[in-house]
């Protein structure tokens, strides 16, 4: 059985923040150590509802996390949605030990790493698919490596020539068509395409260098 208190819509599943001061102690006791207790309960009776709640809660932050690797709004959104589809279809929610939060962040990160490898890595680089399995618990090294990678990508893009950077971001994060960018920046379509492929080239080099 499951209930949660809240006083407004925003903190539906964050009873601690929404509860009256007098309730705080008592609610805290339930919440500490497992903030997903409500969602866990929902999964017991109605997995689809549980998935929906997780989606509402984590879709935004996960997209924000994913975009740091793939540097494309569409790809990040598709990727996160895909993780959620698999989560539902393959019933991964039954295998999750630990929190759904860490499961989802791991799954998104693994998917993102695969995508980065595919897009920027060497073609012959081995592409083990870690997204299909429920991710292991002790993947500290990978966790930190991934953070490094996102940092490297960020740094590389920051160091792109200004125009090149602008075109790249407009294309990948503002979902603008090449034609649109050309019109807006008053350059030729060819120049836009050149900027984008230059940015991708530099990124590819940087990522390949990191992977040795």
């Amino acid at each position: 059985m499951s209930f949660s208190n809240h006083t407004n819509e925003e903190d539906r599943f964050y009873p601690v923040t929404g509860a009256h001061a007098s309730d705080k102690l008592q609610v805290d006791a339930i919440e500490i150590g497992d903030r997903e207790v409500f969602i866990k309960q929902v999964f017991k009776t109605d997995p689809s509802k549980g998935c929906e709640l997780l989606f509402k809660r984590y879709y935004g932050p996960l997209c924000s996390h994913a975009v740091k690797y793939v540097y494309s709004k569409e790809k990040a959104e598709d990727m996160v949605a895909d993780v959620f589809y698999k989560f539902w279809e393959n019933k991964y929610y039954e295998q999750v030990c630990g929190s759904y939060r860490s499961y989802l962040f791991r799954a998104v990160r693994n998917t993102a790493l695969n995508l980065v490898k595919k897009e920027f890595g060497r073609p012959e680089a081995d592409m083990e698919d870690c997204e299909e399995k429920a991710p292991a618990t002790h993947d500290t090294a990978q966790l930190l490596e991934a953070e490094e990678l996102s940092r490297l990508i960020e740094k590389t893009i920051r160091e792109l020539p200004p125009k090149c950077q602008r075109v790249f971001l407009m294309s990948r994060l503002e979902s603008k068509k090449n034609m649109e960018i050309a019109r807006q920046l008053k350059v030729s379509l060819k120049a836009v395409e050149a900027h984008i492929s230059k940015a991708l080239g530099i990124l590819r080099l940087a990522v390949q260098e990191l992977n040795g």
Partner: protein, 339 residues
């Protein structure tokens, strides 16, 4: 060893830690419990520093389609194949999704325009059947469907009803419908002023359509309720089901309401979605006939969400009491008082 604080994690995520701290973090992360903390911080971090605004609502809609495609198909299949109905209980509860304002506004604007047009065309295009105080009237529609209008009801249909591809009527007030199927299987729709449209797949139901609430009880056959999309997904009702749509964003389908007390082995679920405790009281009254009194207005206004399989009303109250930290006392007349 444990020098890692949330501050350091946030600093790390911002790219501002020293190599030494990074090494410590690596050690620290070896513990699964610490990883949980790390992901908590990561979530918080991503929430506070979003890279872009993801369109969660739209993505959620797609996801919901996937999640509920199977379920709705099952419900439809069952309600079409099993018309005897009364012997089986269905668990079909659809909690409401939060309003999608943009879409709602579009619909609202559209409705406004249509309403404007209707003011002038109404008399020309439509025929009204109305009843007054203490008047009951049965209307035989051109397709031989019968509608019994209870007092103060207004039924509207197109003058061209007979020739329309879809049989559509509008109801304000309460009426009992007995819909006949036609040889060419024309669908029958009942529109209500408050958020819902009833698509008739079968035959007999009782509909109460007020300006601020809608209530449907299905007696025979099967109907589909198309609700304003900002409010809930459409759902299909089976005989004995009762659905209510009120201001408080609540849809309930109570299965075989008339028979539920004679059945012991069925499991019942109550779904609350941002429901104030005062409304929970009203629901309990309807379901169990027990009055619940909440003297403290602040307590009455507190909202709860969740689903609960219940056996008795005491069960529900006790669990609620535990969660929300109130006490339940029972008065002489069986009235429950929450404090």
């Amino acid at each position: 060893m444990n020098l890692i604080t949330k501050d350091i994690i946030y600093k790390y995520l911002a790219g501002g830690t020293t190599v030494i701290q990074k090494r410590q973090l690596e050690e620290w992360l070896l513990l699964p419990a610490n990883q949980e903390t790390f992901y908590e911080c990561l979530e918080e971090w991503e929430r506070r520093h979003p890279q872009f605004t993801a369109d969660t609502d739209r993505a959620l809609q797609d996801y919901q389609k996937k999640l509920y495609a199977q379920k709705e198909a099952n419900v439809l299949a069952r309600s079409l194949s099993d018309d005897t109905g009364a012997g089986k209980q269905e668990e079909t509860y659809y909690p409401l999704s939060p309003a999608r304002r943009g879409r709602f506004m579009k619909i609202a604007v559209l409705l406004l325009i249509l309403a404007g047009a209707a003011v002038y065309k109404d008399q020309l295009l439509y025929k009204h059947y109305t009843t007054g105080e203490k008047e009951i009237r049965t209307v035989l529609l051109p397709d031989n469907s019968k509608v019994t209008l209870l007092e103060n009801a207004d039924l509207k249909l197109a003058r061209l009803f007979r020739w329309k591809k879809e049989r559509t009527v509008w109801l304000k007030g309460q009426a009992i419908f007995n819909v006949q199927s036609t040889r060419d299987h024309r669908p029958f729709f009942v529109n209500t002023p408050f958020k819902a449209q009833i698509q008739v797949l079968g035959t007999e139901f009782d509909l109460y359509a007020a300006s601020d609430s809608t209530r449907v009880f299905l007696n025979e056959g099967s109907i589909r309720v198309n609700i304003d999309s900002s409010f809930s997904r459409p759902f299909i009702m089976k005989p004995g089901d009762l659905a209510k749509m009120g201001k408080k964003n609540l849809v309930q389908i109570k299965n075989n309401q008339f028979y539920w007390q004679f059945r012991t082995q069925v499991s019942h679920t109550l779904v609350f979605d941002k429901t104030p405790l005062s409304d929970v009281g009203l629901i309990m009254k309807e379901q169990f006939g027990k009055t619940i009194h909440i003297p403290d207005t602040a307590l009455a206004a507190r909202r709860i969400s969740g689903s609960y399989k219940w056996t008795t009303e005491k069960d529900i109250l006790n669990t609620l009491a535990l969660m929300m930290g109130f006490t339940v006392t029972y008065g002489e007349n069986g009235q429950a008082v929450l404090k």
